[in-house]
Structure formats: C-alpha cells, structure tokens
C-alpha cells in the first residue's frame, strides 16, 4: 500500500454518496466502503437507493443507482442529509444527485462517461465538467477509464471489462481520501472472482490505482480521518434491516422451541426475506414460495394451525391482498407474524422508494372489527429485536402481529451489537399436549390467550373457521349478544398486551416545550435533531414508539407533560390522526411523502419553530 505522504486532518463526520448507472456497480462499491468503515470503528448508517427497473437504458436519468453512507466519531442514526462527497460516474448521476451536495462539496466524476450521447440522455445542454456550472463545488474530474486502462495495459483486456472496473478505481480514490484500508475489499474480490483470476487482477489493480492516484496528485492537501465512535462494549457486525429481521425470527423460533414456517411471494422490498430464510434449512426453517400473496398468508395460517411459528412478509400491495386472510387469523386467534416492508404507494407506487404510509391500512384495512397487534422497527439493527418481540407477543398471546418496516430500513445498514443468544428470554407457547380439559377456546386468565391444540395430538380434534364462535364452546354462533362479546374480547386481547410491554420513557427532557413522537425508520433523524436542539438549550423530549397497537399504557399521560407535540412521519399524518383521536391533544405533524427518508435538518427546523414559539 502506498506510503501516506500527506498530513492528516480529523473531522467528526462525513457523508459520501456513490452514484452511477445501474450497471456501474455502485451498490457493491458502497457495501465495500461500508465494510472498511466498520473496521475503522466509526458509527455508520447507509442508504442504498436504486431504480425499480433492473437495467433502465444505460446513461438515462431513470437508470441511476446510488449508495449513501454517513460515518462518524459520534453516534449517528441516519445516512446524512447533505453530501460532503458525490461520486458521479456519469452525467445522469450528477444531474439527479447534485442538489443534495453541500456548497463547496467534492464531486468525483469519471470524465470518460461524460460523452455527448450521455449528456444528451441526461439533459445537460453543455458538459458541466467543462463550463462553470459547478463553480460552487470542488470538482475532481478524471478519465478513470484511461487510468484503469493504463494500470492493466500488460493484460490485453476488453474496453468493456476495463470500464466495468472503474468503480473500483473510484472506491480506491475515496478510500485514500478518508484513510480506509483496502484489505477487506481485496479479500472480497479474491473470493468473489475466485474462478476468474483475470477479474481478480483487474479489479485489484483498479482499486490500487485509485488509491495511489490520491496519494500522488497535488489535488489533496491532506487525508481526512474520522476517529472511532464510542460504542457499548461487545462484538459488532454491520447489518441490513431485512437480514436483522430474519435473525430475529430464527432466534425467536429457537427460544420458543418451534420450527419456522415462512411463506412469501416475491415483492420489493421484502423479497430478500424469503431468499435469506430459504438458506437456513438447518435451523428447521421451512420456506414456501407461494403462487400469490393470498396463498402465502393462507399457507401460514395452515402451518400455524399445525404448530409451526408461521411468518409471511410482503409490502403494501401484498398487504392489501392479505387482508381477508389476516382477518381469518384474527377470528381463529392464531399466532402468526406478518412483516410489511413498506414502500411508496398507492397501488404500485414507487416500489424501491421508502414511505411509512401503511399504518392505518394495517390497523384498519380489514372487514369488520379486526384488531391486530402492530409493531414498528426503528433502525436496521432494531429489526432484530422487533422481529423477536413480534414472535413473542404472537405466541404468548395467541394473536396475529404485524411488523412495519420500510424500504429504508430493509436495505439500509448500521453496526449491530451481536446479542448473547443465551441471555435472551425463552418464549412461552400455548401448545397443549394432553386432552385433559382441552377446549380450543379455553383462555388463560391474564392474556386471554386460547389453547393451541394441534393436529396429530390425540384427543384434541376440533374445528375452527372464520364464522363467529360461541364465547364458551367455540362452536359456530349467530347469537347477537355473543357476537358483540366476542368483538370486545378480541379487542381486549390486544389491549391487554399493554400490560406486557415497557412504558414509554422519553429521551431528553421528561417534560417541557416539545415532545417529538415518532415511529419506524425516522428514529435516527429525530434523535439527532432532538440532540442538536437540546445542545442549544431547548427543552425537548423524544418518544419513539415500537408498539403502535396497543400503545404503551403511559403514552397519554406522557403527552400531557409537554406544551407541544410534534409527530414527524413519511406520510400525511397517520400516527398524528391516531394520537389526536385517542388522546384529544393538539399535536402537529411534520410530513414528507417523497419516497425519501426524513432528514435531520427538517426535523430540527420544526422543533426550533415549536420550541421558540
């Protein structure tokens, strides 16, 4: 590795976005940079963003794929609002991402791709690298294709192969700028292309060429370093949200002593859950790729009736299709878990873009009074605990549970403190082994959970279904008073769970000017905004709800301790509606429905507006 001949300058945090054509390997580049950053001990958060089209026309605006990372010596919760560095491998990437770059931020461009054709495709009238339209930024425009080509000139490679390795050149250069080690990427390349030595060679040479370029040219006065962040002691790894969900599920299954049955139908951004779990067969995970969303959840109902921990995952459109079946699980009081990885709607909407607009659908989107438990994960690593908690509540309370995640959490990543699985609690089930006094709708007093008598167990033969049941016998009943009792009983089963979850404990000020109430993936942005405003002596608290149905018992009284309640959401005000309706408080919303995560600045500005008033 090159000898670092330049001075170092230490700063707190850096935001970099790698952007390019869908085929330019930006996701891979971002993931490599992330791993190297994790090794450096910084806190980090990432945000991959890519088009729904697998390969939109090369060079087009629709085909731009990006990967953003923020890393810091502080604890951070978001991939950052404004960029310090924008790597723009082609003019389309520059066009679609430039607005997010800080004034005087750095643009790293591969000049070779700024051809007349690409400029026209991305609607630049003149080449921005050649006129002064980028004068507010620091532009490092290099012909990476030629530089890589020089590095491999003894190898007799096609132009195509060379230009496909320019992402490694960019990665090498940025790694040099921010003092990241190349070793994990070199190992990765060796493994990935183990059967094609020429690819190993060209990628490593491109990577090193980029690194050495930084070391050689006069452009950079110093290397930027970021100190290690302070973490709770323990062993860490980096993790994306969907992976963390899967880990949470298999951990819960082991703690409950059950097999997992998972069924899904491919849908963005939930598909990787089916893919990941299908590889865990030695953990007794049975996966089934169903013919449609309805079959997926119905097969889960069947598997749960037979004693497996049943799970399905989907996104908004699939959630709509699963409605009737989820109602059946409510009526038959079976413990299943539905993961809804939300995306921008309505209808097909923007499949790869994030949103948190399915809260009301999840709560109310079924016929009749059909209450389910609703949880939301607040960060990629938190997906683990939320999935575990969902399984725990489902099994201990014999009730369907829906987990809300979103596209931002699904593919975003952050360091995860690997739990000691031995120290995690066991999960109780209501499985019945002997017929003594068995009645399918006999209930445990404090949870109202019914007995779980599964086929194959002698003496427990019984029938369940979607028809209303007699409150005592479980037989079909059309009695009007019985129906009303059953409706309230199903609601009570949800409400009672509030006794079994932690009360809210606001972060920051326990009373005062502003309480920010959030849920889901906006956690990081809200927490940073609250921290920033508190440093400026504003009195602000933060409650982030994991349990959305039921709410924690003390939520109402907590809200009354603040003059202003602010509810930032990536929807037009869904939690806001619930809080106002349930607690009759004058809360206000901060709403963003752009398919993008909330930013720290916008939450901060709103807090200051309320706190200063």
């Amino acid at each position: 590795m090159a000898n670092k001949s330049k001075n170092k300058k230490n700063i707190d945090r850096v935001v970099i976005r790698f952007t390019g054509d869908s085929g330019d390997g930006m996701q891979l580049t971002g993931n490599r940079f992330t791993e190297a950053t994790a090794i450096m001990g910084n806190d980090l958060a990432t945000f991959p963003d890519y088009p729904a089209e697998i390969r939109a026309p090369a060079g087009s605006l629709a085909g731009v794929s990006s990967f953003q990372i923020q890393f810091s010596s502080d604890n951070i919760g978001t991939p950052g609002d404004k960029l310090d560095v924008l790597v723009a491998m082609n003019p389309a990437a520059l066009k679609t991402n430039l607005a997010d770059l800080k004034t005087s931020g750095i643009i790293i461009a591969n000049k070779a791709n700024y051809t007349d054709k690409n400029l026209k495709l991305s609607r630049w009238e003149l080449n921005p690298l050649e006129d002064d339209s980028l004068r507010d930024y620091r532009v490092i425009a290099l012909d990476m294709t030629r530089l890589v080509s020089n590095a491999v000139e003894d190898m007799d490679l096609s132009v195509k192969l060379i230009s496909r390795s320019t992402n490694m050149f960019a990665l090498g250069l940025v790694s040099w700028m921010y003092d990241r080690t190349l070793d994990p990427t070199i190992n990765f390349i060796k493994n990935k292309f183990a059967k094609r030595p020429e690819l190993v060679e060209v990628n490593i040479r491109a990577l090193k060429a980029g690194y050495n370029y930084g070391d050689t040219i006069e452009e950079f006065q110093h290397i930027i370093t970021v100190s290690k962040a302070e973490f709770e002691p323990g062993v860490y790894r980096n993790i994306v949200g969907n992976q963390a969900l899967c880990f949470g599920l298999i951990t819960a299954a082991e703690k409950a002593g059950l097999d997992i049955y998972f069924a899904g139908y491919p849908i963005t951004p939930a598909s990787d859950i089916l893919q990941i779990l299908s590889g865990y067969k030695n953990f007794r995970v049975k996966t089934f790729q169903a013919e449609d969303e309805i079959a997926a959840i119905m097969s889960v109902v069947g598997a749960v009736f037979c004693g497996d921990l049943g799970i399905t995952a989907t996104s908004g459109p699939g959630m709509a299709l699963k409605g009737e079946s989820l109602g059946l699980a409510v009526a038959t009081e079976l413990p299943l878990v539905v993961l809804n990885i939300q995306r921008a709607g309505p209808s097909t909407g923007m499949p790869t873009k994030t949103e948190q607009a399915d809260l009301l659908q999840t709560l109310f989107g079924r016929n009749g009074e059909s209450p389910v438990v609703v949880l939301a994960a607040n960060s990629p690593a938190d997906c683990f605990s939320t999935a575990f908690e969902a399984c725990r509540i489902a099994l201990e309370h014999m009730i369907p549970v829906v987990v809300l995640s979103d596209a931002f959490l699904a593919h975003g990543s952050e360091p995860w403190l690997i739990p000691q699985t031995k120290s995690l609690p066991k999960i109780r089930t209501h499985l019945v082994e002997k017929p003594n006094g068995f009645k399918p709708f006999k209930r445990e007093e404090h949870t109202l959970a019914r007995q779980w008598g599964i086929p194959g167990t002698k003496g427990l033969e019984h029938r369940v279904g979607g028809l209303e049941k007699d409150i005592e016998t479980g037989d079909v009943s059309y009695d009007p008073i019985n129906h009303e009792k059953m409706m309230y009983l199903r609601q009570q089963k949800v409400d009672i769970i509030a006794n079994d979850i932690p009360p809210v404990d606001p972060f920051g000020d326990k009373n005062g000017k502003v309480l920010v109430v959030g849920w889901g993936s906006s956690f990081g942005a809200i927490r940073e905004a609250v921290n920033r405003s508190r440093k400026e002596n504003h009195s602000v608290g933060h409650v982030h709800l994991r349990h959305l149905n039921p709410f924690p018992l003390n939520l109402g009284e907590t809200l009354l301790k603040y003059q202003n309640i602010l509810v930032p959401e990536m929807n037009s005000g869904q939690l806001l509606l619930l809080l106002r309706g349930k607690f009759l408080i004058d809360a206000s919303g901060l709403n963003k429905v752009q398919g993008k995560p909330l930013g720290v600045d916008e939450v901060y500005d709103k807090i200051i507006e309320l706190a200063g008033a």
Partner: protein, 338 residues
C-alpha cells in the same frame, strides 16, 4: 406406543356433535356418509386427519366430521392445506371444495396445488351452481344456463375440471357422483392410496337451485347408457346390455356398437397411466354424444412436494449440522469494542 397398529375406529367416531345444516335431500349428505365410512378404515389415527374447506355449502363439511378441521375463506383451502402439509407431512389432509370455490375464486390455488403434487386429497363437489348465495350460475354451468344472475342465459363457457386438472399437472384425476355410493367409496380409497394430489370430482345434486343437473347420469332407466364406468385394464364399454364401446379413430374417440363379432377387440382398454387417454376422456365431459366417464381418469406416480422439501431439510441438517445462532451471527466481518 402400539396404537397405530391397533386402531379400531368406526363411522360413529367421525360424526361430530354439530347438527348438519344442509337442505334436506342435498347430495352432500350422501358424500358425508361415505367419507365417514371410509375414514375409519384407512388405518390412520383419528388425530392425524385434517379436513380443510373454503366457503360454500360443501365447505361446511369439516364441522360435521369429528377430526381436526378448518373452515377457511373462499377459494383458499388448498393454500391452507399446503402450509399444513409442509408443517406436518404425517397428516392425512382432505380438502372439501365446490365448483365456485375451486374453479372460480380459488382457481389459482387449485391449479398450483395440483402442480406441486402434495400428498393430499381434493373432493370437488360440483353442482354447477352457486347454492349458498342462492342460485347464480357457476364456472361449471353450461353456456345458456338461466340463473338468478343470467336471466337471459349465460354467455360464459364452462371449465372442464378434469381437463383443467390434467393441464395443471394433476397426478390423480377421478370422477364420481353422489348417488353412486359404492362407486364413490371406491374412489375415496383410491384417492387416499395415491401418494400425490388426488382430485375427486363429485357430481352433486342441488335440488333447490339446480335440480336434476345430473339426472341423466342417475336415472335408473338411462344411466347405463350415459355413464362410462372406467376400470383400469378393462375395455371401455357401456350401455344397458354392455353393447357399446369407445374406439380410437384417428385422434378421436368414437362410440361403436359391440353387436358384431370381434368388435370388442377394437374397444380401447383403459390405461389410467396414459395421459393421452386421460385427455380424450376428459374431453367427453360436456359432449352429449358420448357417455360421461366415471372412475379414475388418470393416475401418475411422482415425488410429492413435501417429500422433496423435507429431504432438503434433512440433508441440510446432515451436511451443515444443527443451526447455531451464535455462529451464524458472527459469520461476517465482526469487530470488538472493549
């Protein structure tokens, strides 16, 4: 425990405590009775039966059998049964469905469960009408049917269930009728014996909304002329005097008279495992110029979905060892903070 080898069950073990609420005279009663007669004789512990249904008159079936049962939602019984069979392959799973439930709202699940070949049994009660919703034409009603939703006659071509099942890759396709109880009983045994998805289409009379739909097949006077009772390895003959047969001419079946000497030699021999024959027989469903085939139209042995899946689970366990969470979580780049 030696319970399995000494199971002695009788019909009354399978009668639940619920009052049967079908219309008096409904064909469903006869089918229920046959199922209650067959189940005790299959050598299966009672607790291993799971009967699953969707929505419709026939789908009330599970309530009347004292087994594990699930009355689910419209059209989705095959999906529920799929999950049950994967969760516990030892169960004997029976799906009870109707022509609306399986051919219309549940058409997708119907074809996919057949394609995947789970070892389960589908009893398709086909009465060619929507009964529970009071008399609309169904996807198996003939074109021109006058019904509550088609006062000018249906302009909807019907599905042909055996042909659909064959196209979907079904491995056991049979047809019976509510009134022919002994014959139906035999089909239920055959369906059980088949290791794969067994479809038994059962013509069933709804005397309230579609009375007499199958009268020509049940009327003592003419049924020998209108039914072709299939027996594997036997010639396809029918008629009051067993004097007619089906012969293959070109690529079509033809009815021939057996009065001439040696004409029996021209009659096609039923081979359950011949898919082309299965196709030809299925094509006769709505053709008034031919007798209606009854019995096992087609049978094929192939591995079931749940067997292949559970083999994969066993192999993974053997080659990778029992899953270890701590190992899995640390199977990536990790770093320690002191």
């Amino acid at each position: 425990m030696s319970e399995v080898s000494t199971i002695t069950l009788s019909k009354k073990d399978f009668i639940s405590d619920q009052d049967v609420r079908w219309c008096p005279g409904c064909g469903d009663y006869a089918i229920l009775s046959q199922v209650q007669k067959v189940f005790p004789n299959l050598g299966i512990p009672k607790e291993n039966f799971l009967v699953v249904s969707g929505i419709g008159c026939s789908s009330r079936f599970p309530y009347y059998l004292d087994t594990f049962g699930f009355h689910s939602i419209h059209g989705r019984a095959p999906a529920l049964a799929t999950g049950a069979k994967i969760a516990n392959p030892d169960l004997s799973v029976w799906i009870v469905t109707g022509d609306g439930d399986s051919m219309s709202i549940g058409g997708n699940h119907f074809i996919h469960v057949l394609r995947r070949n789970f070892d389960l049994n589908i009893l398709l009660f086909n009465n060619q009408v929507y009964g529970l919703t009071k008399g609309q034409y169904s996807p198996t009603s003939e074109i021109g049917r006058i019904s509550n939703s088609t006062p000018f006659g249906s302009v909807d071509y019907p599905f042909n269930p055996p042909l659909l099942a064959l196209g979907a890759g079904g491995t056991f396709i049979a047809r019976g009728i509510d009134r022919e109880q002994k014959h139906l009983q035999g089909l239920l045994y055959e369906a059980y014996k088949h290791k794969g998805t067994s479809l038994v289409e059962i013509y069933q009379n709804c005397w309230v909304f579609n009375d007499g739909a199958f009268a020509s097949l049940t009327d003592r006077e003419i049924k020998m002329e209108t039914q072709l009772i299939l027996e594997n390895g036997k010639p396809m003959i029918f008629g009051r005097n067993q004097d007619k047969g089906l012969m293959l001419k070109g690529s079509k079946l033809e009815v021939i008279s057996l009065t001439k000497k040696n004409s029996i030699n021209k009659v096609m021999i039923h081979d359950e495992q011949n898919k082309i024959q299965g196709l030809l027989l299925s094509e006769l469903t709505y053709d008034k110029n031919y007798p209606t085939p009854m019995g096992v139209l087609y049978r094929e042995e192939k591995p079931t979905y749940e067997t292949m899946l559970h083999n994969q689970l066993a192999t993974a366990l053997k080659t990778r060892g029992k899953g270890d969470l701590d190992k899995l979580f640390n199977d990536s780049h990790t770093w320690e903070v002191e």
